[in-house]
Point group: C2
Chain length 430, copies 2
C-alpha cells in the first residue's frame, strides 16, 4: 500500500472517531482531546484526527490513510451491539483478518453483565467478535471489549466511544502497551510536556505583551494563547524536537507566573470554582450568592466542586425586583433611583445576602444579558459585580461584556468568582 | 495523484479544521457541525472530518487526502495574521499556485479595520495573500478574508476558524456558490433531511422498542438513537440514496410523535428550558425554584432563554439546612425526621418557594450529587423532585441517577424541568 514518508512517523499518532452523530448529529468528539494528552505524556505526538460515520467503507478508508502517516492509530466508537457498529468488520477487512468470537472477550462481558444481573443478548454477543491475531483490551467499566493489533508497522487500537469506558481502557491497557513499545524503541524523542495557565481579566493582546520575549526561540517550546469567554489560556508545549530540560521548563513556568501575577487564576486542569473553593475551605470562610442576570450559574459552578457545602451556605436568584427586595432587603427606592442594573443595587444585594445568611462574604451580580433589556444608557453586556465582607469591605465593579446571552452570563460569573478569589487571597484565615 | 473511486464523490464533502489547539489544546472543533448542516441542506453529504495542527506539511497531507475522496473540501482556521497561520501557504504549495497580495482582499480588510479606527499591521497584510486563480471570499464580520479554488475536480474553500466569521462567510458566499454548482450538475441526489426528537425519562432500549418497525427498510431513512445525560435523542435522517418524499418523512415524524407521546419533550434545536419557557409564557404562568443538589443549574438553564424574566420570579439555592428553613420555611423537625434528602422535604421546599414568591408553581430538588454524602439507605444519585401549584397539586418523584457529580446534577435538573413541562401542558391558561 502507498505510504507517505514522514520523518517522525515512529512517534506520531492519529485518532479516528467513529459515529454518524459526530458527523451530523451535533455531538463533538471529546475523546481525542483526552487521548492527545495521554499520548503526549509518552512522547507520542498526535498529528491528525479523523472523524467518520458508521460506514464500513469510510472507516476502512480512514484506517488506510491513518496507518500511512502515523505509527499509532487509536479508534474510538463503533463497537456497540447494533448493526450500525461496524468498526470490528472494517478493521478485519482492511487488515485481512477473520472475525471470530473470542472466549476471553465473551468471558469479560459475561462477568460484567452478571454484576448487573443480566446475561448477553444477541447484539452483545457480536461485541465479542475480535479480528484474528488481535489482542483483547478488557473493559473494566462497560460491556464492550476493545482490541489492538499491528499492521504494516502501525499499532491499531479500537476502543468504545463512551468516554468513561474509553478513558478507563486507555489508562489500564493502552498506555502500558504503548509505554512498553516506546521503551523497546531505540533513541527517540522525549515525552512532550505541556503546562497550562488560566488568566482572567486581561485582553489577549495584553497577555501577549506581558509574555513577550519570555521563551528563547532556540528552546523549541511553543507559547500558545487561546481566548475564550472564561479568559485567556496560556500554554507552554514542548514537542519531540524540543531539547529543554525539566528545570528549564520550570524556570519558564516561574516566568509566566511572575509576569501574569494575580491575573493568573489557575494552572492545569483546575477550574476557577475549584480555586475559589480551595481558598474558602482553607481559610474556613463561608459564602452566599445573589444573582440576577447570571440566573444561578455562579451557584451551579460553585456546586460543581465536591464538598462545596462546606463553604456555600445559600444563593438567591432574584430575577424580579420584588425578589431583590423580599429576599435581600434591597430598598425599592434604591432600585427606583439607580435602576436594578447599577453599582448601588449590586452593593445592596451583596450586603443583603451576606447579612441574612450570616456568612463571611456575599457576592452579587446584576446586569443585562440581552438580547433585550437595553436602554439608551445601559447597553446589553453592562454588568455590575458586588462583594461585601463582614469586615467592612465593600467592592463593586462595572463590566461591559460582548457576546451573546450565554457568553455574557459566562463572563459575568467568571468576573464574580474572580473577585471572590482575589478577596479570599488577601483575607487572613477566618 | 492517487484517487479512490467513490460512487458518490460528486456529492460528498470533507472538512479540515486547522489549529494546534484543536489537537492538544482542549478545544473541540464546532465549526464542522455547523458546516455539516449547511451542506446537508444542499444535498451534499459530509463524510469525513479531519483535524490537523498548524503544520504546513500536515495541512498539505490532509488536503491531498480530502480531494481524493470528496468533491467539496472546506478548511477552517489557519488564516490569522501570525506565522503559525499557514493554510494559505499549504494550499498554494499543494495546488501549485503562487501566493500574491490581492487588491480586493486588502480593500475589504482595510474597509473593515477602518470601521474600528485601525489600519492593517504587518501580520494582517499577510492575510491578503491569496493563491493565484483563487476567488476571494469576503469576510463581513472580521478582517481575515477567505478564498476558494478548484483543483483536480474538487472545490477547496478556506475560511477563518472564528465561528462567527466562518458562519457568516459560509452563509453569504459558500452556500450560494455550492448551490449554483449543484444546479449546474445533471441529476444528482436530493437535499438531505434530518429530523431530531428529544426524549426524557425512558431508557434507550425502551425508546428503541417503542419505535421498532416504524421505518420501512426500503425507504433508506436512518433511525438513530443517541443517549446523553439529558435523555435519548431520536433522529430520522435521509441520505442521498433515499427516495422518500417530504410527505413520507412527515408521516414518519407523526409516527415518532404518536409512539413517544409525552416522553417527547422537544424537536429540532429546541431545548427543554425553551419548551418550558414557551409553555409558561403562553399560559401566563410564573415559577420559582428551590434547589439544593442542583445548586442553581435549573435557574441557570431557565435564564438561558431570552425573555425568561416574564415567568421566572426567583430561585433559592438552599445548600444548608438552615437556608432551607430560613428561606423556604421548611420545619427543622421535618428535616430531622426524614433527612434533607427526602420526598417530604422536597414537597416542603416546593410549597415554601411557591407561597413566598406568590407564583403559579414552585419546583424543588434535593438529592445527593456525590461523590460524598451517601448513607447506607441513601446512595449517591438519590434525588427527590417536588412540584407545588396553587390549585392543590402536589407531586414528588424519586429518582436514582447514575454517573458523576456533574451528570447527576444535569439529570436532576432535566427531571425537574420535565415535571414542570408536563404540569404546564395539563394546566389551563392562568
Amino acid at each position: 500500500m502507498p505510504r507517505r514518508a514522514h520523518p517522525d512517523r515512529s512517534f506520531t499518532a492519529e485518532t479516528i472517531a467513529i459515529g454518524s452523530e459526530l458527523l451530523i448529529g451535533g455531538r463533538s468528539d471529546s475523546n481525542s482531546l483526552h487521548i492527545a494528552e495521554a499520548l503526549g505524556a509518552l512522547g507520542i505526538e498526535l498529528r491528525f484526527k479523523s472523524i467518520v460515520g458508521d460506514d464500513r467503507a469510510d472507516i476502512m478508508a480512514a484506517v488506510k490513510t491513518a496507518v500511512a502517516r502515523a505509527a499509532v492509530v487509536i479508534m474510538t466508537g463503533g463497537l456497540g451491539p447494533t448493526v450500525d457498529d461496524c468498526t470490528r468488520e472494517a478493521v478485519a477487512v482492511v487488515t485481512g483478518r477473520r472475525l471470530a468470537r473470542r472466549k476471553e472477550a465473551l468471558d469479560g462481558m459475561q462477568a460484567r453483565l452478571a454484576q448487573w444481573g443480566r446475561s448477553p443478548n444477541k447484539g452483545q454477543l457480536r461485541q465479542a467478535l475480535i479480528p484474528s491475531g488481535a489482542a483483547v483490551v478488557p473493559n473494566p467499566v462497560g460491556s464492550a471489549p476493545g482490541f489492538w493489533l499491528t499492521w504494516t508497522g502501525a499499532i491499531i487500537v479500537a476502543l468504545p466511544g463512551v468516554p468513561r469506558e474509553m478513558e478507563a481502557m486507555l489508562e489500564s491497557s493502552v498506555v502500558p502497551l504503548l509505554r512498553s513499545r516506546r521503551q523497546g524503541a531505540a533513541g527517540g524523542p522525549r515525552p512532550m510536556a505541556r503546562l497550562v495557565f488560566h488568566t482572567w481579566g486581561l485582553p489577549e493582546a495584553d497577555v501577549d505583551a506581558k509574555l513577550a520575549g519570555l521563551v528563547p526561540a532556540r528552546w523549541n517550546v511553543d507559547l500558545g494563547l487561546l481566548a475564550s469567554p472564561l479568559g485567556v489560556l496560556v500554554s507552554l508545549t514542548t514537542n519531540p524536537r524540543s531539547r529543554v530540560l525539566p528545570d528549564d521548563l520550570a524556570t519558564l513556568a516561574d516566568g509566566v507566573r511572575a509576569r501574569l501575577g494575580e491575573w493568573l487564576y489557575a494552572e492545569g486542569r483546575e477550574t476557577m470554582e475549584e480555586v475559589v473553593g480551595r481558598l474558602l475551605a482553607k481559610r474556613q470562610l463561608t459564602v452566599a450568592t445573589a444573582e440576577s442576570c447570571t440566573g444561578g450559574l455562579i451557584g451551579h459552578r460553585l456546586t460543581q466542586v465536591p464538598g462545596s457545602s462546606a463553604y456555600l451556605d445559600r444563593g438567591v436568584i432574584c430575577y424580579s425586583n420584588r425578589a431583590k427586595t423580599e429576599l435581600l432587603g434591597v430598598p425599592p427606592a434604591l432600585i427606583e433611583t439607580h435602576g436594578a442594573v447599577s453599582a448601588e443595587v449590586a452593593a445592596a444585594m451583596a450586603d443583603g445576602v451576606r447579612t441574612r445568611a450570616g456568612v463571611s462574604v456575599g457576592v452579587s451580580v446584576t446586569g443585562i444579558a440581552g438580547p433585550g433589556g437595553a436602554t439608551p444608557t445601559k447597553p446589553v453586556g453592562l454588568v455590575y459585580i458586588g462583594l461585601n465582607a463582614g469586615d467592612g469591605t465593600i467592592i463593586t465593579h462595572e463590566h461591559r461584556f460582548h457576546g451573546d446571552r450565554s457568553t455574557i452570563k459566562q463572563r459575568a460569573s467568571q468576573a464574580a468568582l474572580d473577585l471572590l478569589r482575589r478577596w479570599a487571597l488577601r483575607r487572613e484565615a477566618g
